[in-house]
């Protein structure tokens, strides 16, 4: 029972922390983000495992994590409100080449982040070539080029 309670508490805490920290927190795969992710996973592992390093305990932890995750995804399918509460909504941050500054500031995104995604894919050189940029729920930036940019349809950034 202790393992199940630990997993549920840890899942809820991580969900809360990453929702509060914003969409972009773990979306950037910089070297330091990777280190941060490793430190967080190591800390989480120690709190979950405690002194019990048995296979039974490990099975129970993994099973509970998967059950909570699948259970929540089923609930999110049925409830749009819950889906938004847990995963947020996408946000338009560039419209017809014009950065929407207030939204970008609130999400801690700057024009260089948008251009990094735009350069990577679909290979744009200037912000004017961006018809729309969307900060997705995952924290990634999706860029839709203008028709004049001579490129086809939207492509996924990082």
């Amino acid at each position: 029972m202790d393992a199940v309670v630990r997993v549920v508490a840890m899942y809820a805490f991580l969900l809360l922390v990453f929702r509060i920290s914003g969409k972009r927190t773990m979306s950037e795969a910089t070297t330091f983000d990777l280190l941060l992710l490793l430190v967080i996973s190591e800390t989480t592992q120690q709190a979950l495992v405690g002194d019990d390093r048995s296979m039974t305990h490990a099975f129970l932890l993994i099973l509970t994590f998967v059950a909570v995750d699948v259970g929540l995804s089923l609930l999110k399918q049925r409830s749009r409100t819950l889906d938004r509460l847990l995963d947020s909504t996408p946000l338009l941050i560039v419209e017809r080449g014009r950065p929407l500054k207030e939204r970008m500031d609130r999400e801690r995104v700057d024009v260089e982040d948008v251009m990094e995604s735009a350069r990577r894919s679909p290979g744009l050189a200037r912000i004017e070539q961006v018809a729309y940029a969307v900060l997705e729920r995952s924290g990634k930036i999706t860029v839709v080029p203008t028709e004049r940019a001579g490129l086809e349809g939207p492509e996924q950034g990082r």
């Binding site: 809360l16 017809r96 839709v144």
Partner: protein, 181 residues
């Protein structure tokens, strides 16, 4: 934080024509407001933690003394479950060759004693108390202070209260700890 009038829908809040994106600015503004509150709450928790509200800090340190001054105890008011914590005692030596420090059963039932310094010469237990018997050094005079340290681990989560005292002296000292998970 959201400024006034941000809770409602504004011109330009909807997605532009031709772009299929499930944008909801009303929800987004609420989310930003909640995030800011969450940041403040996080900072407050960290500040409280530095002050010892989650253990190991000035707010957590506690001391208590018996009415007759025979026992003085220093302990942590806020501890972590299953993590070692020290209780340090200063006892007034009795008239014989030994002094007994006792802990009430309600304490012993919910924590384990991992180490005792100095080692007691023996332990005893009654239904109400567990006693640790310490031998005096040859030059110990009655009333001299003996220093004893117990390293314990609280096995449960929540409040833990109990009494500690010196055998043969009136009353005990009430100790209360909060064990965090």
């Amino acid at each position: 934080m959201a400024s006034s009038g941000e809770s409602g829908q504004r011109p330009g809040d909807g997605p532009p024509p031709g772009v299929q994106v499930d944008q909801d600015m009303q929800f987004q503004r609420r989310e930003w407001a909640v995030q800011r509150i969450g940041w403040v709450a996080g900072v407050l928790v960290l500040a409280a933690s530095l002050a010892g509200a989650l253990g190991h800090g000035p707010l957590s340190h506690a001391e208590a003394e018996g009415l007759d001054g025979a026992l003085h105890v220093k302990y942590e008011r806020i501890v972590r479950s299953n993590r070692p914590v020290d209780l340090t005692f200063s006892l007034a030596a009795g008239t014989g060759n030994e002094t007994v420090l006792w802990l009430s059963r309600e304490m012993m039932e919910r924590m384990s004693v991992e180490a005792v310094r100095p080692e007691p010469v023996r332990w005893w237990a009654t239904p109400a108390r567990t006693g640790l018997v310490f031998a005096h050094a040859p030059d110990t005079a009655p009333g001299d202070r003996l220093a004893v340290a117990l390293r314990v681990e609280v096995q449960t989560v929540g409040g833990l209260g109990g009494e500690v005292g010196v055998e043969g002296r009136d009353g005990g000292v009430r100790v209360w700890m909060l064990a965090l998970p």
